[in-house]
């Protein structure tokens, strides 16, 4: 996945709304989503995938010179309410970046009401600089 510009993110119309030091917010309009879940919400599997994407975009901006982004290790999502807002945001925050592993959390919210739809934790491998 490269910096939010991947093919699938473009197909889904996902936009990077904000990107700062160790924090990134992605957003998606529900009308663009065809994979639907309970009560016509965004499917939970897609929510988990976008949680993962948000953290990786966040982490890519925090890599040191020569450092690489490795595989996602674990994704844990607590689904709190159905993601049924017109626009849903995925706000990722880096909690800890070590030499070989980074851990972050992601909040999924209805952009209109601010309702928390899901809370997630993601870990991702890092590839240290050669030498």
């Amino acid at each position: 996945m490269s910096g939010g510009g991947g093919v699938l993110l473009q197909e889904l119309g996902v936009v990077v709304e904000a990107a700062g030091e160790g924090a990134t917010r992605l957003a998606i309009d529900r009308e663009r989503v065809q994979l639907r879940g309970v009560r016509d919400s965004i499917n939970g599997g897609l929510v988990a995938a976008l949680v993962e994407a948000a953290f990786r975009v966040c982490l890519e901006a925090m890599l040191d010179a020569g450092e690489g982004l490795g595989r996602t290790q674990e994704v844990s999502v607590a689904y709190l309410s159905a993601a049924r807002g017109e626009r849903t945001t995925f706000e990722a925050r880096l909690l800890r970046k070590g030499r070989r592993l980074a851990v972050g959390e992601v909040e999924v919210r209805d952009a209109g009401s601010g309702e928390l739809n899901a809370k997630a934790q993601v870990s991702c491998a890092l590839v240290p600089p050669a030498g």
Binding site: G6, V7, Q34, L35, G45, A49, E52, T72, S76
Partner: protein
Amino acid sequence: MPVPEREAWLARFDTAPARRLGVAPESVERGFAAFAIAVPYGDERDDDPLFFATALHYAADIAALSAVIARCELEQPNGTASVHLAELAAPRGPVRVWSRVVHWGEYAALLEIAAEDASGALVARGLTGYSLRPPASMP
């Protein structure tokens, strides 16, 4: 709600957006369901790891949902409550994602999830909680 009739179940999950992810329904039985992910894609999707990641998460979610539907008697599925997925390895060939009910409670079910590639290697392993509506709460 018994095990869904196979043709109806295939029709529900064999959709255009699922096919774009390479996800196709495979089998369903009481408390169990399996989906296939046809990777490698052989086109530009192989260059975007989010395609397989999304396929994996989506297949895990609908496998769990299908397993719950195929286990419900009087209860109703209410939605996925949680998922914990460890992504263990990159797939080497087509992947089979399955989910099985390991505990059936009054208000929630616990299911295991696994994804295995054509060589039998584990690609991902996880647990998901699924919220249930008991018969007494229904009108």
